[in-house]
């Protein structure tokens, strides 16, 4: 089973979800993220869902779970790029994902993470901009 790649950007992890995920893939992502958070000591997770045209209750709960687990591991989560139709539908479903921070796009999401994690700039300079670890 293919897994969703997790990129490392300095102190943060970046996940871009582009496929129509089935449940096992979503669960695998949850596991992978938590283990990567642990091994890298990353302080932030950016989840890019700008390609997702469907977010149902399962995926919604996955996002809330990731956010919760990350917080326990001292990392902030920001979800970016939710499409309007998806947002409207989630609200109608009754999911408002409280406690999950959001931003319009990756750039703003990174900005948000920067503000909540001190020392980000130093790390970025030291490690170079983007480094994709092996999956």
């Amino acid at each position: 089973m293919e897994r969703i790649p997790i990129l490392r950007m300095g102190r943060f992890l970046l996940v871009t979800i582009q496929v129509d995920m089935h449940d096992r893939l979503a669960l695998a992502l949850q596991e992978d993220l938590t283990s990567r958070l642990s091994t890298t000591g990353a302080r932030g997770v950016l989840i890019d869902i700008s390609s997702l045209t469907i977010v149902d209750s399962f995926i919604g709960r996955m996002i809330a779970n990731i956010s919760g687990m990350a917080r326990i591991m001292d990392a902030e989560t920001v979800v970016v790029g939710m499409q309007p139709a998806v947002a409207i539908t989630l609200v109608e479903l009754g999911l408002s994902l409280p406690g999950v921070r959001t931003a319009l796009d990756v750039e703003r999401g990174m900005h948000l993470l920067q503000r909540s994690v001190p020392g980000f700039d130093d790390d970025m300079a030291a490690e170079g901009v983007v480094g994709a670890d092996e999956a």
Binding site: D20, M21, H22, D23, R24, T53, I54, V55, D56, S57, F58, G60, R61, A64, N65, G68, P84, A85, V86, I88, T89, E92, L93, G94, L95, L97, P98, G99
Partner: protein, 135 residues
């Protein structure tokens, strides 16, 4: 008087089936000229109910139909399984989602996403849920 223009039956026996079912509903909604929000709503409802059929119903099938009523175009999907059935339908419909965990069946939420929602279920008799959305 409602006419059924097209009818397809899809199995719901695996997670991949649920993904395929979602995509089938999306395709049909687009064919019927649904706007993006209407599409997303019915596809999300289908995803919820499809998953329920698989996970709580032990697997089943989805019948998808395209409808024509005068000038109105619609999409109808029926989910059936021969699982253990729902004992308290009223409660299941009221069960919302809790913020992170919680095993709400999501029926109440799905109901809000569609124009027509019908459920037949009893312990030991399986479950049959029909949803429809009009353009």
């Amino acid at each position: 008087m409602t006419t059924v223009l097209k009818r397809d039956v899809l199995p719901l026996k695996s997670e991949q089936d649920v993904v395929l079912a979602r995509q089938a509903v999306r395709k049909v909604a687009i064919e019927q000229g649904f706007g993006i929000v209407d599409q997303t709503k019915i596809v999300t409802a289908a995803s919820e109910l499809g998953r329920n059929t698989l996970i709580h119903g032990g697997g089943g099938e989805m019948v998808i139909e395209t409808l024509l009523d005068g000038a109105r175009r619609g999409v109808r999907a029926t989910f059936t399984d021969r699982g253990k059935g729902i004992a308290d339908i009223a409660k299941a419909l009221k069960d919302g989602f809790t913020t992170g965990s919680g095993m709400g069946l999501g029926l109440g939420g799905s109901k809000r996403l569609v124009d027509h929602f019908e459920i037949r279920s009893a312990p030991g008799e399986g479950t049959c849920i029909t949803i429809a959305r009009w353009k």
